[in-house]
């Protein structure tokens, strides 16, 4: 998932005695792992939180096309070009089904997109980093899609039916992207020349920490988690997922023959987990606020596309109306 800090608007999770009878029935349903469907009653805060979470995720899929679009015109071979184009097409598709899932909650796609363009809605901080060499196309697939999968696999069991079903479909394609991205890097490390190998290491150096930030603030600083967990729209804590990601990624990093830019990274024999250094949370919060390397450019590009496309969408509507009138006549 690409939703890093979703406000629930709830200060503390209600106990069952504090709940109304509707709320109790709702929570019982969730506790029994029965999916909530669009027509079911739901607390207003649940609905709003989900709209925020799903729209953040959808915006991320769409903004996420931009760093890859930066290289699609420069892909080095026909095979790589086809792979990258197909990936970009998939991400646009993910955006579409996530916006549809969000609309089942009564939200409007255009309104939510507008909020993102006005800086009122977020998307994943990771897409505010630039893609500077070809290896970034491998790193994004491997690490960014990889981190997204770790977040999204548990969301296949999330309590809201349409979101859960969208996640099942999205996850399949994200795994494919991850393997493809890793293969790009593996090829560069095994068949590439020195300059190409340097590209890979440089790319990993730039993306490593921002990717770890994709899981959101550490649990101690994650005030909205408890409610989201009770509603089962979040199923594991940020730190838990981050650890899972690191544990699965380090062996892959070793197979590449590359290193992570973290001098504190070491394996703990007792816990069986990799320990990692302190994340620069100041950077994370700045990027999230809009002060990252590409925030302004990313939003400006999306806003321009939608603003400049207004006349096209108006024409499509006008034409459809004329056609309908002609058919009726």
């Amino acid at each position: 998932m690409y939703a890093q800090m979703v406000e629930t608007g709830v200060k503390s999770v209600k106990t069952s005695t504090e709940m109304s009878s509707e709320e109790q029935a709702f929570q019982t349903r969730i506790d029994a792992d029965i999916k909530i469907e669009p027509k079911n009653w739901m607390p207003e805060a649940y609905r709003k939180t989900l709209i925020r979470q799903i729209s953040q995720h959808a915006h991320s899929e769409i903004v996420g096309m931009l760093p890859e679009g930066n290289w699609v015109t420069r892909a080095p071979t026909l095979k790589r070009k086809l792979q990258l184009m197909a990936k970009i097409q998939d991400e646009a598709g993910h955006g579409l089904y996530l916006y549809s899932a969000m609309e089942t909650l009564g939200a409007d796609r255009d309104d939510e997109v507008q909020k993102m363009h006005e800086g009122k809605a977020k998307y994943s901080s990771i897409f505010n980093y630039p893609t500077l060499n070809w290896a970034d196309m491998g790193t994004i697939g491997w690490l960014v899609d990889g981190a997204a999968i770790v977040n999204q696999v548990p969301l296949q069991r999330t309590s809201y039916g349409p979101y859960s079903r969208a996640m099942i479909r999205v996850c399949k394609e994200e795994s494919f992207h991850q393997r493809q991205g890793y293969e790009i890097l593996l090829h560069l490390m095994r068949e590439g020349n020195d300059a190409q190998k340097e590209m890979v290491q440089d790319s990993i150096n730039r993306f490593w920490w921002p990717v770890l930030m994709m899981f959101g603030p550490s649990d101690a600083n994650s005030p909205n988690s408890a409610q989201s967990m009770a509603w089962k729209i979040k199923r594991h804590s940020n730190d838990e997922l981050r650890q899972r990601f690191i544990d699965q990624t380090i062996p892959q990093l070793q197979i590449l023959g590359c290193t992570a830019p973290d001098p504190d990274l070491k394996f703990n024999e007792e816990t069986g987990h990799w320990e990692y250094g302190e994340i620069d949370w100041a950077e994370f919060f700045e990027v999230l606020k809009g002060n990252g390397p590409c925030n302004k450019e990313r939003v400006a590009k999306r806003k321009k596309a939608i603003d400049e496309g207004a006349w096209v969408r108006e024409a499509a509507v006008a034409y459809a109306n004329k056609k309908q009138q002609r058919n009726a006549a």
């Binding site: 769409i62 931009l66 890859e68 026909l78 086809l82 097409q89 070809w134 496309g309 006349w311 034409y319």
Partner: protein, 253 residues
């Protein structure tokens, strides 16, 4: 420009036009007027790169000088490219993008239909595989020509302006082309002599439905994409597309 046999020339023309058209579509990532169009642009682009790869693999085999389809795409300079001038022109606004796509599709689809009957089985096979894709392409692009031409006042103006501006590059599609005579007689591309007439008919029908005014038949402008004499735009398209192969010679990606 070094000339190859007629069949190989045809393959290069097909491959290069599909490739450059797709490359222009790649430039549009993240800039489409609606999310559905992002998906459609990549969909069409993917079809075209796939087709280009098939044509150019066959061309490379026939040229037989050790080059692969990738070498043909990423290491030829503009004077060796055989694409239509139309497809190398910049995207412009969405009206221009769709005008270019439609004028190309109206040429491409009937061409593929003819190639399905080629006496060269390899060509017939690739054409048969491509025809479904290109049928979708022209359905989509003619639909957009109609929507924009017969949509709002603004969209009509923009569409007409785009058409008037790009039209002179259609002389390569609207007029007889010498190579097609022999390809027709040799049954490599049976019926291809009639292509320009068919193109004119398709374009006239759709433009009329779209309430657009068709400009006069375009005249030769002394360039010829198919003979390797291009506009100034192609060099920049290639500079971008070929960057990595040029900057890191002989590297494996």
């Amino acid at each position: 420009m070094k000339r190859f046999d007629d069949t190989t020339e045809l393959l290069l023309q097909l491959g290069d036009s599909a490739m450059i058209q797709a490359q222009r579509l790649c430039e549009l990532v993240g800039g489409a007027p609606a999310l559905e169009e992002e998906v459609a642009l990549m969909n069409v682009g993917l079809d075209l790169v796939g087709q280009a790869r098939n044509w150019l693999e066959y061309a490379a085999e026939r040229i037989d000088d050790g080059r692969t389809a990738d070498d043909l795409v990423f290491l030829r300079d503009q004077g060796e490219y055989r694409n239509l001038l139309l497809v190398e022109q910049p995207n412009g606004d969405f009206a221009m993008t769709m005008a270019k796509q439609f004028l190309f599709d109206a040429w491409h689809k009937p061409l593929l239909e003819k190639l399905c009957n080629s006496s060269d089985e390899r060509i017939a096979g690739i054409a048969a595989k491509s025809i479904k894709e290109s049928s979708y392409h022209i359905r989509r692009s003619s639909e957009w020509i109609k929507r924009l031409g017969d949509g709002t006042h603004e969209s009509h103006e923009r569409m007409q302006r785009a058409l008037d501006q790009i039209w002179h590059f259609t002389f390569e599609l609207a007029n007889p082309y010498e190579l097609f005579n022999t390809l027709d007689t040799d049954n490599i591309a049976p019926g291809i002599k009639a292509l320009c007439k068919e193109w004119q008919a398709i374009v006239a029908t759709i433009l009329a439905e779209a309430t657009l005014t068709q400009p006069e038949t375009a005249e030769n402008n002394y360039l010829s994409g198919r003979e390797g004499v291009h506009t100034e735009n192609l060099g920049f398209v290639l500079a971008e597309m070929q960057f990595l192969q040029r900057a890191y010679p002989n590297a494996s990606w």
